[in-house]
Subunit: 235 residues, 2 copies
Amino acid sequence: MSEPDFAAVAALAGEPARAIMLATLFDGRALAAGELARAAGIAPATASAHLGKLAEGGLVRVRAQGRHRYYQLAGPVVAHALETLGAVARPVPVRSLGDALRMQRLRRARSCYNHLAGEIAVAIAQALVRHGALEPDDDGFRLGAGARPLLARIGVDLAAVVRDDRAHVRACVDWTQRRLHVAGALGAALLDALLGSGALQRRREPRALDVTPSGDALLTAAFGIDSTALDALGA
Amino acid sequence: MSEPDFAAVAALAGEPARAIMLATLFDGRALAAGELARAAGIAPATASAHLGKLAEGGLVRVRAQGRHRYYQLAGPVVAHALETLGAVARPVPVRSLGDALRMQRLRRARSCYNHLAGEIAVAIAQALVRHGALEPDDDGFRLGAGARPLLARIGVDLAAVVRDDRAHVRACVDWTQRRLHVAGALGAALLDALLGSGALQRRREPRALDVTPSGDALLTAAFGIDSTALDALGA
DNA sequence: GCAACGCTTCGTTGGCGAGCGAAACGTCAC
DNA sequence: GTGACGTTTCGCTCGCCAACGAAGCGTTGC
């Protein structure tokens, strides 16, 4: 036990070029080695070495397809670890009004791996509990009786979620909020539905999301969430 | 956004000597710089530089007292991040029967920052819910009606917990188990009580805990937990 | 006071690893 | 087949950072 087990993983994720690649893969996509090299601003040879180490360390998985090799995060656990690490990071000194606004938007709504996070996500989880679609559980959440009609209102087909063999509902702790929100298959379906219906919209920054006016209306109508008053939430 | 926010933290935690120091601090103690230097096997000068960086990065806090400077983790968030990173680490190749047994014990019961983790912790959380001492919540857990007498059975003085100004009950996700267990003030009180009464016992390895025979009896009597059958738990 | 102690700062050295270009390997297109 | 492309392997260079000893600063104890 000379070296703690987290050290190797941290060292892998800590190198700048590798960190950029991991961040690029954060949403769960599988990208070719060349694309990751370009994203990190390094030569293909260097990227290959980095990706080899990340794979060796179990942070990414490789899928060879033709002359491409597609890399993606090894699983939600990796994404969760990166997210948690980010929560430790010093609040970035705000240099400009633009920075502050960007931060505020990121706190409000962002994607976390393949699901929704931020104040909006916490509010939705609480609303789902309040309306009986979810029930708190000693394991996080489980589906409640009123789930199907309520979820249908925002365009989530519950049958498709249940068919999915992943854990249907998983809780994810948002460490900027210290509160649970919905991950797992339902979390992914929620994000897809809200993006598909135009309620949410991806911003130019990697993980940032915007709530559109129609999204505001939808969330208010379906759950009674007033997304302009979200700051009043947390404990 | 050239460098992801987790990179700096990961780089800090990834350097071997710093990782050893962080691991040494993992249980929340405050240790003097010299002790950490010895633990990491480096000269005081080197340790000082490392600790300076860790403090600068917000991973540890310093408290000067006389001619000593005591360092400790900056908070539970840091411990949680390290724990989560460890969950990503490849399952260490088992080299010997001793390794396997050590691993099994660590899965069963260990300390996580200042509270109890592992299968035992998950089982206790579930039992507390089952007996009405805790109620699942969209935020994790909250105290239930039957909390006081039940917790008294295992030597936890609920009044002392409530007096504590930390969040009384917080949920912590054990990522080797993917299930919630009790953290926060109650989590810390639980660990203290079980250690104090001899139900649990620290092993030589840093975070490992043993359930003593008297602890087995106590858990069975209080909660109906059969600690020899815990493997049957998880999902 | 003076000496012992704990810690930090400074200046220097040395080794590890990120980075690249060149070349080899495999795949696809025609 | 042949050439273009994506990726990996190899050999090399260079910069960064961990590590140490020595010196400086504050605290404790006699």
